[in-house]
């Protein structure tokens, strides 16, 4: 259930009876069973037509398109199973009320810092000395209370993330030099991995939000965007440490990803196809991991945690019951 399919080949993707078929440029045919799919991720250069799009629409499956340089290019979302005027009204109202917006923005940052901390604590106990980073994160988190604007709140987020990323150079093995976050384009292997991982998290959250009637463009920490699903950015911050970063550490430290999995361009460094395959496979495995959820009284997958987060936000907006951001509890 809720499977994601990643297509790396170049070629054509099409509807074939009640399934989806990929015909690669070298004539190979692969079938994707879509009944239980949540989304299809297109990484290669693929052609598709309206018949394909309407079929997925009807099946309720999203398509997330990744373009040049692994950049997330956009999504084709199935027609909403959910529309609720009331939800959108409540969502916008909370945005429009400065106090309410700030409170939500702080909740997202608070949860993100907690989850960064959780990763750092793990390594702190395994031969690294990250006491100072943990303190810095705790300081940042504590300073949230006094912040009076979204900008200041964003500033706390940035400060925390910087401290968090400072641990990467120590945790990752030799050959993987990070030296701080670079986005456009990523300038080294680590940045390229972070970019790719974060965009997968983002796309998954776009799907999760779609399962509610929330509007993915109305957000609280990030400024609502015209061309991006900024609510997915708000929620993604909470989950990047758990989903994207842990996969990076695991693959690189175990030597499953090496510098051979990247290609240097003029002034960028990107995962090659083999690297992207390795990463997304491990990432999907992580999404399938399960954890006991004490409030729900059952085991849930990490992927389902994304859905739950969208529910929680929607519930808060609709009922006024408190929104408690996702904090890793195990």
């Amino acid at each position: 259930m809720n499977d994601n399919y990643h297509v790396f080949s170049d070629g054509r993707i099409e509807r074939q009876d009640d399934t989806v078929r990929v015909v690669t440029d070298d004539g190979e045919k692969k079938y994707l069973p879509v009944e239980n799919a949540e989304a299809i991720f297109l990484h290669g250069q693929l052609e598709y037509n309206t018949r394909f799009v309407s079929f997925l629409n009807q099946e309720g499956v999203a398509v997330h398109v990744f373009g040049w340089h692994d950049h997330y290019a956009g999504s084709i979302m199935p027609k909403r199973g959910q529309t609720s005027g009331q939800t959108i009204v409540d969502q916008v109202r909370a945005y429009d009320d400065p106090g309410h917006r700030l409170k939500l923005a702080k909740a997202f940052v608070d949860g993100s810092i907690h989850n960064m901390r959780s990763n750092v604590t793990y390594y702190d106990g395994r031969g690294y000395d990250f006491e100072h980073v943990l303190e810095e994160l705790e300081d940042a988190r504590a300073s949230l209370d006094g912040m009076g604007t979204i900008d200041e709140t964003m500033g706390v987020e940035a400060r925390a993330r910087k401290a968090y990323y400072s641990t990467f150079d120590e945790i990752l093995p030799e050959g993987f030099v990070f030296g701080g976050r670079q986005y456009n384009p990523p300038n080294n292997e680590v940045n390229s991995l972070i970019s790719f991982g974060n965009s997968l998290v983002y796309a998954n959250i776009v799907s999760a939000i779609r399962a509610t009637a929330l509007d993915p463009t109305v957000s609280y920490l990030h400024e609502p965007g015209e061309r991006r699903y900024s609510l997915a950015l708000d929620i993604a911050d909470l989950f990047k440490p758990l989903l994207a970063d842990r996969v990076i550490f695991r693959l690189v430290n175990r030597g499953q990803l090496t510098t051979d999995d990247f290609e240097d361009d003029m002034n960028s460094c990107l995962l090659n196809e083999a690297g992207r395959k390795t990463y997304s496979k491990a990432y999907e495995k992580t999404l399938d991991e399960t954890i006991d959820h004490p409030d729900l009284g059952k085991k849930v997958s990490y992927q389902y945690l994304l859905r739950v987060e969208a529910y929680k936000l929607k519930k808060h907006l609709l009922t006024g019951e408190e929104y408690v951001p996702f904090r890793r509890w195990w």
Partner: protein
């Protein structure tokens, strides 16, 4: 102008009898079931809070196969408000999905009878049945059962016009409720 202090039941009846009038609040048969089962769920329903498609039994009891039901029956819609099953005998049928749903189904059926009587002036009796149970229960509109319907209408109105839903309370029915993860995640 309707006097705002008017009883919700009267306001509902006035509006239902006058085709041009707007109903003061939305009232459907299934709301009576939710009213008995869980008022929080009723509030969600009234706000169109939907839960994703892959949750089993999205509508409580929707998985009951009542096609097994052998009586000849017709679906009748009245005023776009109620949709009833009329048996050849003229009785109104309500199927209860399970034994725990007797009370909710009974109240819904009573509402139909009440509506037919008060709005369209047609007196009917009802039958409450389960496809696999032999026993059927006859349900009639009496002064007592009418009063039950009317008090439920007032209660439903109170729930659906409230700013926020009643808080979640753990009950056995939560486990099979489509809103389970919505209510209990925090």
């Amino acid at each position: 102008m309707t006097d705002s202090s008017t009883d919700p039941v009267d306001r509902f009846l006035d509006a239902a009898r006058d085709e041009t009038a707007e109903l003061p609040f939305r009232l459907t048969g299934v709301m009576f079931q939710y009213y008995v089962v869980c008022e929080r769920e009723l509030w969600f329903l009234s706000r169109d809070v939907e839960i994703d498609r892959d949750t089993p039994s999205i509508v409580r009891g929707s998985d009951v196969d009542d096609s097994a039901y052998s009586d000849k029956r017709r679906d009748v819609r009245v005023d776009g408000i109620i949709a009833i099953d009329v048996l050849d005998s003229g009785e109104i049928l309500e199927v209860k999905p399970s034994s725990s749903m007797t009370e909710p189904a009974r109240l819904q059926l009573l509402f139909y009878l009440w509506y037919l009587d008060r709005v369209t002036g047609v007196e009917k009796t009802g039958v409450l049945a389960h496809p696999t149970e032999k026993r059927r229960e006859t349900i009639e509109l009496t002064p007592e059962t009418s009063a039950e319907v009317e008090s439920a209408i007032r209660g439903i109105r109170e729930v659906v016009t409230a700013e926020s839903p009643p808080p979640a309370e753990g009950k056995p029915v939560c486990d099979s409720c489509a809103y389970h993860d919505f209510c209990w995640s925090c």
